[in-house]
Symmetry: C3
Subunit: 144 residues, 3 copies
């Protein structure tokens, strides 16, 4: 509604968490925002980063947050019944319809000994905090 005259709307997420229940909203928000014309920037860091390695993708779905373990299986079953895409499929689809960038945190890669070639195909670049903040500047920024 309130179209900003100074440029495109922007949604950026710092994806810190590595549980499936947090990764799903990342995919849903990225997908919904891209479809609505937002530029989307995703910065995977800490536990989030492990999920965008090739091995991380093979091991999906990631575990559910221990706080919600009792409710998790029902939700996951419903998602499968609805044939709802997984979070990384939502991101891949979002990249096809809009301007969506996926960044891996350079500091976390050092902490975990992860190399560039270990990262999934849909990762666009390896960047540090300052670069990410620069890309995120002026839009909505969430820490997930």
């Amino acid at each position: 509604m309130a179209e900003k005259s100074e440029g495109k709307k922007k949604l950026s997420m710092i994806v810190f968490s590595g549980t499936i229940d947090k990764l799903m909203p990342v995919g849903i928000l990225a997908s919904g925002a891209a479809a609505a014309g937002y530029e989307v920037n995703l910065f995977f860091t800490f536990w989030g980063l492990r999920n965008i390695t090739k091995e991380g993708i093979r091991n999906q779905p990631a575990p559910i947050d221990k706080n919600y373990e009792s409710m998790g299986p029902a939700m996951m079953a419903k998602m499968q019944e609805m044939k709802y895409p997984m979070w990384y499929q939502l991101i891949q689809q979002a990249k096809e319809v809009g301007e969506v960038k996926v960044y891996a945190c350079s500091t976390t890669m050092e902490f975990f000994g992860i190399k560039r070639e270990d990262l999934a195909e849909f990762v666009d670049d390896v960047v540090g905090v300052a670069t990410f903040l620069d890309r995120a500047e002026g839009g909505i920024v969430l820490f997930v």
Copy 2:
């Protein structure tokens, strides 16, 4: 201090979490922001959504985050001693003093099979991601 000339200040929260220790700051932030003249938008999704059903309200307080179980009882006891309102009472009070809207996430309602009539009285509307982002645009947005 730095009053924005282009309109009202705005605080929006994506309430993803369902533990009492995260719901309390949602209520406190909503209440403090509304009293300070902010427009407040709350978008309950995933584990957060279960807390704004009629049944969810009856079952308060929600469990405390497992990471802080050892400190939880002391904090809850102190809150009761102070007669500090519960998070949903803070939201209800905030709605009386300011412009506070409570939204339920349409996608999560499908995941959990929750119907509109299951939602608590203070829920204003059921919306999707794009609508929420549009309402949140231009203000502070937190993922809780």
Copy 3:
């Protein structure tokens, strides 16, 4: 790159969490942002607040999030091997290079019975929600 003409860039964080894996990104983001010329505001509340007491600093590192306990020791060992500073050292260093303010949440201090003299040296002030929102207004704001 896109230097805002209307003033300094700003990063504010509501530090709710008290696990070491969330405190580290707070330190890294504060440090990276300060070095890049951002004004940084940190508002420690709830479980986060306990970590900026004198006793909290003595008890570092705080426990790791239970969801990531299996991966925690490897990451912590790597950080030590890299001689990576602890989160509060990153904040102290950031305060030397840039405009970094550390605030303690007044409401949480009441909940936990924490007094001003219990707080660590690098805490600048005790403030409420409305004051913090006012300081954060117009920049990136994260809930960690």
